[in-house]
Amino acid sequence: MKAPSIIATFMLLLLAGCAGTPFLAPRAPPQPAAPSPSPSPSPAVIPPTTAAAAQPSELAAPPSTAPVAPPQAAAPPIAGAPPAATLPNPSAAKAAGSTVTAAAKPPAPAAQLPKAASPTTDIAKPKTPPLDLTSLEQRLKSTNAIGVLTKLTLKNQVDDLLDKFRAYYQGKLKTTLADLRRSYDLLVQKVLALLQDSDPPLATDIVASREPIWGILSDPKKFATI
């Protein structure tokens, strides 16, 4: 019994809010899809935006009687963009209705750009996976994708390559870092060829760790810590 009365009160408040914003009507002319007189306040912002702005416009209608910018600025980007455009409108709308919409568009993307850019940078940061050699080694040992003898063979080849690096940094082996890189790439490709069909996640992680591992191998100081 209470729900209908609450809804009715809310609807009345909405209507009262719409009725209290006749001064926003001049913004209506640029909008073509507003045949009824009541939608005049918010629709001024609707044309530049898309159909998704219909809900924000309804939400913005009641508070539009007062300067609503602060609360809407805190609102999500979709709802925040139109109100930001409505603020400069009163001054500019009187000058030219069409230019209002044109002027209203730039501020909205400008306000959204920083918000959109920050999440991408936040997402980009965690993409760099931390190198966990111990975990990779353990996973290589425990994977069923490679047989025991094959694992032992690969371990021998890894040890041989590490010996080459050691000799290279000690000046005992006359080779170049490019040659060592070739050997390293070949060994990684062998491992990947063995893993890619039977243990794709491990293969993917090894691919991701390929350059970080080379960064350790190719740096004498880091290599000495191994």
């Binding site: 490679i146 047989g147 025991v148 003898l149 094959t150 032992l152 063979t153 690969l154 021998n156 080849q157 062998k190 063995l194």
Partner: protein
């Protein structure tokens, strides 16, 4: 009585089938392992046709192309592939 015998026969057949399939899977995985080891050493072997296990980690492998290899782990823990 005949029902019991039939049940026993089915159980035995299932057990033998499972054991055979698991042995075949083991055999295939060992062949694959040996083939990979030989290939990683850069030696030719189209396919491992058969192998004879002499000891733990000690096999004589016959390849499809006619090559025979002795694959074993030496005292230093290295996998050695010797052509025979």
């Amino acid at each position: 009585m005949s029902i019991r015998i039939a049940g026993l026969a089915i159980t035995l057949f299932a057990a033998v089938s499972i054991a055979t399939s698991s042995l075949a899977a083991d055999d295939a995985s060992v062949k694959k392992d040996l083939f990979t080891v030989i290939t990683l050493q850069g030696l030719p072997c189209g396919e491992v046709v058969s192998y004879t296990t002499k000891n733990d980690n000690d096999h004589v492998v016959v390849c499809k192309d006619g090559n025979r290899y002795h694959v074993y782990v030496n005292a230093q823990g290295r996998v050695v592939v010797e052509k025979q």
